[in-house]
Amino acid sequence: MPPRVIVLGVGNAERGDDGAGRMVARFLKDTLPPNVEVVEHDGEATSLLARLDGAVSAYVIDACVSKSPPGTIHRFDANRETLPHVSSDMSTHGFGLAAAIELGRTLGQLPAHVVVYAIEGKSFDTGAALSGPVAAAVSVVAERIRSEIDAALF
């Protein structure tokens, strides 16, 4: 049986660029091999960690705010590095993602391979659509994840 892979798009789709992670998940939904589960998630830490349980490989996508230009794509190998605080303090759920990863690491529960993509956001207004640069980054991240999964499986 092929190893279980999970793609988790984290965020709040009703808060502008905060929905970036979810949009990546929607892009990828039903387009990946059957062993790859694609899930949208609100980012609450304990629930997020439970979602990673049993997966060999995980791709987590979230919005972030650092000092980079909007739409900048950050990629972290969570097995090797701690997520920088800059990506966790800014959004209402971001604490959840960083906490989930660190909690999983501490408890020895992280999948063998965890990649976090963070897309630099610009506007987090209630009810807003994705800003232009973030919308463009969403499709780029989706394609990168598709390639990474393809390369790992074949």
């Binding site: 609450e44 830490a45 629930s47 960690l49 439970a50 209402t92 604490f95 909690l103 501490t106 408890l107």
Partner: protein, 429 residues
């Protein structure tokens, strides 16, 4: 003039965003303000014109931690207007769904947010390094609450299966039976949780609260009951507005509630427990006694024990409901809309939540009012903090910040989740 300002910025998280500020003048606490910058409550406005059927799904969005509370107060209000009474297995299923929410909310708060304060850790992550098994137990226990939400509510966050008159779809007896083994484990785990928190170190801070909660003849209150207080209120929920008033204060976008002619009051686990101890299961009562609690509890720092006791109750209640459940023939009672006014109160994990609606003959909502628990507690929280901080002014800043955060978490406000990365500014003029 000796001036000291304690400011805790960014209480950012699911239900809202806020901060905590204490102003000290000449060695005395002048005022404590819990600043809640919730996005203005557009909900009440944008419910207007929507169908009465949508209120439960729309209001569930207000909170990611306690959506069931909003759903329940909404559907009960609508059912009163429609003149239907949801009873039997459907009523039991709603109670079960609420048990799921209490379990996940209380476990998250007790173990992941509040216990690290008592044990001297910066966060649950730091605590996990020394107490890995404790955190694993907490995660498993919380997930069992989430599993109930998923099974009965359709999904764990913002359930979508609750409907005016009942549910869209009801689980089979076998579906619910699949959770029994986990719930039996959860009962033992919850009892361990009570024992664990009872050994924490508690400051002596008994307060003179007016507790307010629901009270029901036959059961620990979740979905219905009279509104009662520890100082004599005992009314049907329809009279809520005659006794409780909301006012707007400048430093917060949340309205603050008072009892007419008296002042602040306090809703939540301490109130429920103190007004309904006799309705807990024998096991939960025994666990409370062994943890050193009396039949009432007025020390907010001990609320962590009460939450653990309520978790025992919620697990046992879930087991009772599942044990006697027979799948109803229909998932809901059908009824035609009609013009009218209705209100309901239920018990969110954080306390009583009151909804009031007026709908037109075609079922469209004319007016909606939602009074969440944290807004009701805000004046009490500020009063308590003013008193506590006065005793702590001589502490070093780091310790003072720690105490303030711990004290705020006593009330489990929905804004509490982010307290670990709060910033404390002390301004010494």
């Amino acid at each position: 003039m000796a001036r000291k300002t304690i400011k805790v910025d960014y209480l950012a998280r699911v239900e809202g965003e806020g901060a905590f500020k204490v102003v000290v003048r000449d060695g005395a606490v002048k005022r404590a303000e819990l600043r809640i910058f919730e996005p203005p409550r557009f909900y009440e406005a944008f419910l207007r014109g929507r169908s009465y059927m949508e209120a439960s799904d729309i209001t569930a969005r207000i909170c990611g931690i306690c959506p069931v509370a909003y759903q329940m107060s909404a559907v009960h209000s609508m059912e009163k207007i429609l003149g239907i009474k949801v009873d039997g297995a459907l009523r039991e299923l709603r109670r079960l769904l609420y048990c799921g929410e209490w379990i996940e909310s209380h476990v998250l708060h007790v173990y992941m947010l509040h216990a690290p304060d008592f044990l001297g850790y910066d966060s649950a992550i730091h605590m996990a390094k020394d107490h890995g098994d404790l955190v694993r137990t907490a995660l498993r226990l919380k997930k069992i609450g989430n599993d109930i939400m998923t099974m009965v509510g359709g999904r764990e966050i913002h359930p979508i299966n609750v409907k005016v008159g009942g549910f869209y779809k009801v689980p089979s007896k076998r579906d619910l039976g699949s959770m029994v083994e986990n719930l039996k484990w959860a009962r033992d785990a919850a009892l361990d949780m009570v024992r664990f928190v009872s050994k924490l170190d508690f400051p002596n801070n008994e307060r003179d609260y007016e507790f307010v909660s629901l009270r029901h003849d036959k059961e620990y209150p979740l979905n219905e009951g009279r509104v009662v207080s520890s100082k004599g209120i005992d009314i049907p929920v329809e009279e809520y507005d005659q006794h409780f008033k909301e006012t707007h204060v400048e430093h917060s976008t949340a309205l603050q509630s008072h009892i007419v002619g008296r002042g602040p009051y306090f809703v939540g686990p301490l109130a429920r427990y103190s007004l309904n101890f006799d309705k807990l299961t024998p096991t939960a009562q025994q666990a409370a006694r062994e943890a050193g609690l009396g039949k009432t509890c007025t020390n907010p720092f001990r609320s962590i024990i009460v939450r653990a006791v309520e978790t025992v109750y919620a697990v046992e209640e879930a087991l009772r409901i599942i044990g006697s459940y027979e799948q109803p023939d229909k998932p809901f009672i059908a009824a035609e809309p009609r013009a009218g006014v209705g209100c309901a109160a239920t018990e969110a994990p954080r306390g009583l939540i009151y909804h009031h609606y007026e709908i037109a003959a075609d079922g469209s909502i004319m007016h909606a009012r939602i009074v969440p628990p944290t807004a009701q507690n805000q004046p009490t929280i500020e009063k308590d903090l003013t008193s506590f901080v006065a005793d702590w002014l001589d502490l070093p800043d780091v310790e003072l910040q720690h105490r303030c955060e711990q004290a705020i978490r006593n009330y489990d406000p929905c804004i509490s989740c982010s307290c670990h990365f709060l910033k404390l500014d002390i301004d010494r003029a």
